[in-house]
Amino acid sequence: MNQILIVDDSPTIRRMVKASLAALSGGCEFVEAASGLEAIERLAIGPVELMVLDLNMPDMHGLEVLGFVRSHSKYRQVPVIILTTRGDEASRVAALEAGATAYMTKPFAPGSLATKARELLEAAAP
């Protein structure tokens, strides 16, 4: 069972991401967080195989979350898909430099998000 952490302050987007990934083979369990601090708290208490992370959130920017994740030995390997609203072109470079595994923009096509997630989960599997 894949543990997937979805971090976005919009409940609508979180639901859409869940619906897009629900059909992944092997099954998924979703953990949700509405802010950066919440996301890191979820990381602290349970293993996560994949993280879908928004950039623009209250109280902690997605890049800061990503920076923390990559600086921590325990979570350095967790694949992170940045899923952010388009129109923030410079942030793609910043995100990839900060260690994002993939960078996708909203609006996203459910199919491509699922494909990317499957790819990353398979690559990370032992």
Partner: protein, 644 residues
């Protein structure tokens, strides 16, 4: 894709509403920052985030015009936030126009109308914002100075989270004792994750001690540096950072269903209560006591359940009040008047349904107050008043009644002008026009105050509609006006509809229910104390004569024999008190209101019907309308006059 998206539309519109509410609240705060090199970062940040989120979700559901408009608003705000553009009045005006259009565009989508054209505003926004994308969003914030403050290290765990102690709760606790300067994750001993909050404030020693059991270790910060592993996070931004993770959105229709089911339960329980009472003599007393205890416990629990569901439906009246500054601001500009808005009691809670229905009436009265009530600056100065007029909105709750007051400190209603207009409109004008009669005249369907300067107030929504709406909601309305001092409208509304406490009264062989909220007092009186006066009847009530209405007479119910002692409801207060006489008041009960909204069977004085549990339908009397009858015929003002 479309099918996929359709399942999210309800969520989408609900979230749009939340962001629009935040936008409305914040835009006015932004206006006060005009001209400063950098407006309040908390305000711009909240606005920026709202537009950004709207853009994101609108893009997902392929509402391109909303996405585009929100994007341009976001771009402008980013420039303001970064200090690339100085905030101007024109800029704020454009933002306000754009916010209004955004609201309109979302409403059009919701109503399945064609997409709204946003092009001209998009162009306007592009003109005031610099071209090109600017830097990505991470907010640059000066590193917090820690001196003299406290820090709290919180180490989360599954066990703590199961107890509800999480990072959001820690933040809420700290916010309650001080101001949070920063919040950031840190790597604790042994590689575990912890959160470090720095806050300014004085937590109580007892709290600090108690928090320890919840994984929170607080200490005073001496001269020390923040661990550098992770950049500090922007300062706490109050309510905007409230996590949405702990809220559930519910369609109002589902709550209506729930309320209806509880209503059925209330009726069923009443039926059970009656049945239990009937078998009392047939059951051994020890057994009967057990049954009795259980049915009364059931009644109590049902009441708690009802209150619980009612509370879920309550929202702050502030949802209405927040719109007022916008309306006032526009009108003030159009009319050249100077207006301040004073709002209080916005956290008073009221049923969601009532909030939605009261929005237009409140805005209408406010528009009237600005365009008719308040004088121009010159007139005010000439009259020795402050040049700036004030519109006061206040809300308060007492028992099951919520009161909303809208007042201005303007010229007051010109009674002679109203009378002249009423005559032109062919309305009957009483010999003595008091405040109640005045309210009656201005809220008559035929009375229009429309002349050239009044266009802004009208908008197809007159005082007649205000009155009908308030009455439909089971509320009442009062007017107080003094020449040169101002006008005040008072709405009294039930906290919620559907289920209410009522007094049961008998008239002849009939039983009626009277909602308790409308009744000021219940009295017993001697039939002999009723005196005839000018074709009517009065009694002395609290040392003043009060008109008497016999329900048997009004409702045409034959009364077998004249009783010596009668019961009566007193409705209204002071000089406006009216005494509604019945044969006997027989009890008090929770009733489920089934309103008679069908115009064909609707009668003034009857608010609806209910089922008392014995299967018989009982009419619910509208005591306020009946009292009105006593003072001047059907259709007169609902509440008589301001308390003396």
């Amino acid at each position: 894709m479309t099918e996929f998206l359709d399942t999210f539309l309800d969520d989408y519109f609900a979230e749009c509403d939340e962001h629009l509410t935040a936008v409305r609240r914040t835009l006015l705060a932004l206006e006060s920052s005009v001209g400063q090199p950098r407006p309040d970062p908390a305000v711009t940040e909240e606005l920026f985030r709202a537009f950004h989120s709207l853009k994101g979700i609108a893009g997902m559901v392929e509402h391109r015009e909303i996405e585009l408009l929100a994007h341009e608003m976001e771009t402008y705000l980013r420039a303001v936030r970064e200090g690339d553009v100085r905030l101007t009045t024109a800029g704020v005006d454009t933002l306000i126009d754009a916010a209004r259009l955004l609201e309109h565009a979302i409403a059009a989508r919701r109503n399945r109308q064609p997409p709204v054209d946003v092009e001209s505003l998009v162009l306007e926004l592009r003109q005031i914002a610099p071209a090109g994308d600017s830097a990505p969003g991470a907010v640059a914030v000066a590193p917090p100075t820690d001196a003299g403050s406290w820090q709290c290290l919180f180490t989360p765990s599954a066990e703590l989270i199961a107890r509800g102690v999480n990072v959001d709760m820690v933040r809420a606790r700290l916010r309650a004792v001080g101001e949070i300067v920063s919040a950031a994750p840190v790597v604790g001993e042994g590689g575990g994750i912890a959160f470090r909050f720095v806050f300014q404030g004085e937590p109580a020693a007892a709290d600090v001690e108690a928090w320890r059991a919840d994984g929170m270790v607080c200490s005073r910060v001496e001269q020390e540096t923040v661990p550098a592993a992770v950049p500090a996070v922007p300062a706490d931004r109050g309510a905007s950072t409230l996590s949405s993770g702990h809220y559930v959105r519910v369609d109002l229709a589902r709550l209506d269903d729930l309320m209806r089911m509880i209503g059925d339960l209330v009726i069923r329980r009443a039926r059970l209560g009656d049945a239990v009472a009937r078998v009392e003599s047939h059951v051994p007393s020890s057994d009967w006591r057990a049954i009795q205890e259980n049915t009364s416990a059931l009644e109590r629990q049902l009441r708690e359940l009802r209150d619980g569901v009612m509370r879920v439906r309550l929202v702050p009246v502030g949802e209405i009040f927040r719109r007022v500054p916008f309306v006032v601001r526009d009108l003030a500009r159009e009319t050249g008047k100077r207006v301040a808005v004073d709002i209080s009691g916005q956290t008073t809670e009221i049923d969601k349904f009532l909030v939605e229905r009261m929005l237009d009436p409140v805005l209408h009265v406010v528009r009237n107050a600005v365009s008719h009530g308040l004088e121009t600056v010159e007139e005010r100065v000439a009259a020795g008043k402050a040049p700036e007029g004030t519109i006061t909105l206040a809300a308060s709750a007492a028992g099951e009644i919520v009161t909303i007051q809208i007042a201005d400190d303007g010229r007051g209603i010109d009674v002679d002008r109203v009378i002249a207009r009423a005559r032109v409109a062919g309305l009957p004008v009483p010999a003595h026009v008091d405040e109640a009669a005045l309210l009656e005249l201005i809220s008559s369907p035929g009375f229009s105050t429309r002349d050239a300067s009044d266009r802004v107030s009208g908008r197809g929504f007159g005082m007649a509609v205000v009155r009908t709406t308030v009455q439909d909601l089971g509320g009442s309305m009062r007017l107080a006006s003094a020449p040169g001092q101002g006008t005040r409208f008072t709405f009294e509304l039930p906290l919620t509809l559907a289920i209410t406490d009522a007094l049961l009264a008998r008239v002849g062989t009939q039983t009626f229910a009277v909602p308790q909220a409308a009744v000021r007092e219940v009295i017993e009186l001697d039939a002999a104390s009723i005196q005839a006066l000018e074709g009517g009847e009065i009694i002395q009530y609290r040392a003043a004569p009060a008109p008497v209405v016999r329900l048997s007479g009004v409702l045409g119910i034959p009364v077998p024999a004249a009783q010596e002692r009668l019961h009566a409801f007193v409705v209204g207060a002071g000089a406006g008190a009216v005494v509604l006489v019945v044969d006997r008041i027989v009890g008090q009960r929770e009733i489920v209101v089934r309103s008679t909204s069908d115009p064909l069977i609707r009668v003034d004085g009857i608010a609806g019907a209910t089922d008392l549990g014995d299967g018989r339908a009982v009419l619910i009397l509208d005591a306020v309308a009946l009292a009105r009858h006593a003072r001047g015929g059907w259709g007169a003002a609902p509440r008589v006059r301001e308390t003396a």
